[in-house]
């Protein structure tokens, strides 16, 4: 009997040896939306991340990279549940997400307590980079102010005095409108009215468009993304809003992701965006070409942001020589990295605890290949003012 038990126990001894000699793969949880109105955004982000990791052969510092996708449905409670699964069962080393700011509020405490580095490739509620900041949530996409101040000042400089606002009803858009109202009023303008539409429950904007027309503002400042953006732009064109009112806002509503579906209805929209596919740099041209080869379509700012998020992870891992057990060191390394991505030079500013990047004033123009984003102006390395955030590792 002992003859059989001995080899049996030896077998158990060998297993941990085997694991220690090979390098553990690095697991990254892609906590994005793959269903609902933001499904295209999540899909493009996951694709762009895969592209970035493919470029380094899916290996960093001798360790394989494995991306695990999880669908949050853009719902805060589902996001938190999936995050717990990714960290608890799958034992991921990083999280990349969320897509929508509403989810970020639900994730904040869990991420801070579990000390899991979460690279945010898109919107974050503003308090998460100010009063409630944590070193473990790393913003690489944009700040609310980068999307409101340049446009507010540009509008005033170009003769717009009154504005009506429209946006979906959740935390990010509320903060966006608040910020825009602040900067537009500071520049001497007036916000004459506004509405927040039920998020993911509004298919028909006709009632709101009729109210805009009766308010008669100089411009309509509007934010929608994904499926809601397509609906809004098409319906605004059907009601000929642009005949009497300038259509402006953050450029996501005419993102290259949804612009083909919107078609000529989007022509004439002016906005601000942190990316345009037409940016003339070698990094962007290579990114667009590779994305198109692999996925048969061009990438939008969402893909660029996710691609940069992956590059930040790679840069951080290189700085810690592939070690992921010291989470504080890893996060410090990521925050200190500077990369040059499709958007241009990107870094994270310590004083404002937020991302620094170029911003572009864009206009949708009609071309032979369909509507495209034309860059009208560039604001170089826009960054927020210093903030109350004190990062505690």
């Amino acid at each position: 009997m002992i003859r059989y038990i001995l080899p049996f126990w030896l077998g158990f001894l060998l297993v941990p040896l085997g694991a220690a000699s090979g390098a553990e793969p690095i697991k990254i949880g892609a906590l994005l939306t793959f269903s609902g109105v933001y499904a295209q955004i999540g899909e493009e982000m996951a694709n762009a991340m895969d592209l970035a990791f493919d470029e380094v052969g899916n290996t960093v510092e001798g360790r394989a990279i494995k991306v695990i996708r999880a669908d949050t449905e853009a719902k805060p409670n589902v996001a938190l549940q999936k995050a717990k699964e990714l960290v608890g069962s799958e034992k991921v080393d990083f999280l990349v997400g969320p897509v929508s700011s509403g989810e970020s509020v639900a994730l904040r405490d869990f991420v801070a307590e579990s000390k899991i580095p979460m690279i945010a490739p898109n919107a974050l509620a503003t308090e998460l980079t100010r009063e409630k900041c944590t070193p473990y949530i790393i913003p690489v996409a944009f700040t609310t102010e980068q999307f409101t101040r340049p446009l507010a000042q540009w509008l005033r400089a170009h003769g717009t005095s009154t504005v009506y606002t429209l946006a979906p009803d959740y935390v990010g858009p509320h903060q966006l409108i608040e910020s825009f109202t602040h900067w537009f009023t500071a520049a001497g303008g007036k916000v004459v009215g506004g509405e927040f539409t039920p998020f993911q429950k509004t298919n028909d904007f006709a009632p709101y468009l009729a109210r805009v027309k009766s308010a008669k503002p100089d411009a309509l400042y509007v934010f929608y993304a994904g499926g809601e953006a397509i609906n809004f732009i098409k319906q605004a064109a059907a009601f000929r809003i642009m005949d009497s009112v300038k259509l402006v806002g953050p450029g996501w509503i005419v993102s290259p992701l949804v612009l083909p579906a919107e078609g000529d209805a989007a022509v004439g929209f002016r906005g601000v965006l942190n990316y345009a596919p037409t940016i003339d740099t070698p990094e962007n041209k290579s990114f667009q070409q590779k994305y198109r080869e692999k996925y048969k379509r061009g990438a939008s700012e969402f893909g660029a942001q996710a691609y940069d998020a992956a590059k930040f992870i790679i840069a951080g891992l290189k700085a810690t020589h592939g070690k992921t057990d010291d989470r504080a060191a890893l996060v410090k390394a990521i925050r200190a990295s500077r990369i040059v991505g499709p958007r241009g030079p990107i870094s994270i500013d310590a004083a404002s605890a937020n991302v620094v990047q170029n911003m572009y004033i864009i206009e949708v123009v009609k071309t032979a290949e369909g509507p495209t984003l034309k860059v009208a102006d560039t604001i170089s390395q826009a960054k927020d003012e210093p903030t109350v955030c004190k990062l505690q590792y």
Binding site: F34, S35, G36, V37, A39, Q40, E43, E195, F196, T197, P198, K201, T202, N203, D204, A206, P207, Y208, A210, R211, K213, G226, G227, I230, N231, K234, Q235, A238, F239, R240, V258, A261, E262, G263
Partner: protein, 282 residues
Amino acid sequence: MTVQLLNGLQLAMLLFLLSVGLSIVLGLMNFINLAHGTLYMLGAYLGLTSASITGSFWLALLIAPLGTALAGMALYQFLLRRLGGGSPMRQILLTFGVIYVGIEIIRIVWGNDSHSIDPPALLSAQMVVLGEPYPAYRLFIIVLGLVTMAVLFLVLERTRIGAMVRASVDDREGATCLGINTQRLFLSVFGLGCLLAGLAGVVAAPVLSVYPGMDIAVLIYTLIIVVIGGPGSLPGAALGSLLVGMADTFGRVFIPEFSAFLIYVVMAAFLLLRPQGFVAIR
């Protein structure tokens, strides 16, 4: 104000096309088909594909409802019919499952993106109604809804088939005793319901976008209308759609913070005060 009235009416007509099929099926066959919204979504996608292949919206308007009707009848014949007479719970569970299977199939075939159909050139203009500009395509939806309502009413009230349907809704056993082939009637009526759902889908596509999951958004409204209007009743579905369409539109205009749940308040009121619906069939 005129514009808001027209908006409400247009939404009402779209909802009517969807809910009349569900209502008659429920009233006739006592069958709760939660997958009705999936057929609406299928109609929109079939319209999308036919419009891009043929380049004509009008052909899509013809192909999509027929395709949806065929798919629906196949679904009924091979899957749903086996549940006839069973407990409502099984019907709900099965058709609920069909919803999710349907969304995944749509995703596999057409992808995750949001799409849109362009309205035909004929209807892309702006008309002026009572002094206010209004998109011609939305007027088309209103007209189409009213015409469908009239045609269905005539068929139900003035033809023999209509009489058979009404008889079977009132008393199924009695109707079978009279020699009416209820099985074939069920299949045809179910097919008609699917046709109307597909029509609603392709008609809505130029106004709303086409994406996987668009069915769930309308399903709630459709079920509420069936509850309010009374299952099995055409005038009930018409009145219910009008009420829901107007309440939703004017809710968003006057009390936007509460508009999201106004419809549910209306439904709850009906369930408490008049549970058999506007027009009580049984």
